[in-house]
């Protein structure tokens, strides 16, 4: 078990190293380009040359990459040209704001999706099952920006119950959080509900549930005691794997509602060619994805008794 986890960790770190190299290659291979982006399009050529020399850009590419990677690891992420402050000054608070949004979404989405999935999977093929399936297809197929438009049309323009933007200018506000969280929840709940349903259906068909049924155990006991324990293994790991997916949705939702989080930061950085901020955002999002993959893998091994033994199953990658 431990060796499996350390192998997975090594794999993941290897992938991250390659990703960091790609990010650096795409954004900093052309030093002339970096100078223009940092100093502006109207900077004089000798000014750029001086800046490049001063910041070690005349060194070989690989030397620069290793130095850049070291700076990243030691949290020296450079200066944002857009905000004119160190990247480490803007990024953490934006990340925390997105954490609030993502946390609220997970707190709402996970219980809803689990309940829907369990209720649907308990009776395969029933009317409840079919409505849950249709609901999940409907909500996951509609792009987030369209859901945001539809919900805003109803609750902001028509009913006038909720604010249409979530800038949080005058401090934290729960009402401004409702629409973004609802959009993200609708978009992500369907997938988790489907996974839960499938794994519940499988558990309900299993011999141990049939045995419990024939022993005359009550439905609630069968569901809670026998089926659920096994049916929840897959959803728990899927929740972790959904976080990267949520991160993509977060960018759209944050931009739509003008929420000052990590997503809008990355978007503004990209639109303004803020090289060092883009690099930091890209690396942070990769760290998030990789960390969730790793945690998901470990959770799956911990929860699934069949994988607790040291025998490595073929193709057991999360």
């Amino acid at each position: 078990m431990l060796s499996a986890i350390s192998k997975k960790t090594a794999e993941v770190l290897g992938a991250m190293l390659v990703v960091s190299f790609i990010v650096f290659l795409v954004l900093e291979a052309n030093v002339e380009d970096v100078a223009v982006k940092v100093l502006g399009a109207y900077s004089a050529p000798d000014q750029r040359a001086a800046w490049l020399a001063e910041n070690g850009y005349n060194d070989p590419f690989l030397v620069r990459y290793v130095r850049w990677l070291w700076d990243f690891v030691t949290l020296d992420w450079g200066q944002s040209t857009l905000f004119r402050v160190p990247v480490t000054d803007v990024l953490p608070q934006r990340l925390a704001a997105t954490g609030v949004l993502a946390g609220a979404t997970l707190a709402l989405m996970v219980p809803i999706a689990l309940v829907l999935g369990i209720v649907a999977g308990m009776r395969e093929g029933s009317a409840t099952d079919r409505s849950v399936s249709f609901f999940s297809v409907l909500t996951t197929s509609i792009p987030e920006f369209a859901t945001a438009v539809f919900l805003s049309a109803i609750f902001v323009f028509w009913l006038g119950w909720l604010p249409g933007a979530s800038t949080m200018i005058s401090g934290f506000s729960i009402t401004e959080l409702i629409l973004p969280v609802s959009v993200l929840t609708l978009y992500s709940a369907g997938y988790l509900a489907r996974i839960t349903r499938a794994s519940m259906v499988e558990a309900m068909r299993s011999p141990y549930v049939r045995t419990a049924l024939m022993k005359g155990a009550s439905t609630s006991r069968i569901v809670l005691h026998h089926a659920l324990r096994n049916a929840l293994i897959a959803p728990v790991t899927v929740v972790m794997l959904q976080i990267p997916w949520l991160l993509s949705g977060v960018i759209v939702v944050e931009v739509f509602f003008a929420y000052k989080g990590f997503g809008t930061l990355l978007y503004e950085a990209a639109l303004n060619s803020d090289v060092f901020l883009i690099e930091a955002c890209a690396m942070v999002s990769v760290v998030v994805v990789v960390a969730t993959q790793l945690i998901s893998d470990i959770l799956y091994r911990l929860l699934n008794p069949r994988l607790r033994v040291a025998v490595k199953p073929a193709g057991a990658t999360a």
């Binding site: 197929s141 920006f145 369209a146 997916w245």
Partner: protein, 288 residues
Amino acid sequence: MTAIETRRTGLRVPAALKSPTILLGAVLVGVWVFAALFAPWIAPYDPLQSRAPLQLPMSRGPDGSLYLLGTDLLGRDILSRLIWGARAVVLWAGLATATAFAVGLAMGLVAGFYKGWVDKVLSFIANVILSFPVLVLYILVIVTFGASGLNIVLAVTFASAPGIFRIVRALTIDIAAQDYVAAAIVQGESPLRIMAVEILPNAAGPLIVDACLRLGYTTITIGVLGFLGLGLPPPTPDWGSMVNDGRPMAIAFPHMVIFPCIAISMMTLGLSLVADGIRELGLRHGRA
């Protein structure tokens, strides 16, 4: 044929027509495919022509022409833009998905058939790409290389090929263990022929389902990129960009954003329903 046992994978068309899920999905998608094919004949006006600004739906302009879905800030007819926009979506989403599938198929077949170090290298590449959140990847590619149809194809291929690769690889490993593949190898058939004739047709069912879903994701991607202002360059009528353009005025003129959102939702929901229906049929016939 050389195969000892041939598996039936082709879904019979009449069975598909009896599924209400597939039918509903096909109608939702069909409307826009029809619009894309016949745009020049069914669009009431030129999608780029400035006529009468900010007309509400079902209203008549000063010259008496009817605007079923209203006009935008620049006076362009929204219905005509939606119809021509369908052309952009069908063309670029189709092309991008096809390219991603070609790359993913080739990689997956080779990795699953040869295994060994080829598989290790290809799987590692796939893992690296999959450790990027998709949208971050798209934004990086588009911002670095610029917004154009071809760059969208490039970005989508880059981001979706690894996922397709994983599915094809798993299917190939499974099918390559079958007797009829062993028989083909013994007969001395070339690896290329085995992959194309023995393995690929037997993987078709799950791949068709995946293709429908991916076409939906790509449509969403193109919409999202348009919405973020990174889509097809103006003045190309593009649903996502229409939402982005109409957003500042959405409070007073919601029709400018609602209709493009309905159009894209019809398309993506339709594709999901078709995929779902086919998967259900496949399950009923005993295979996923």
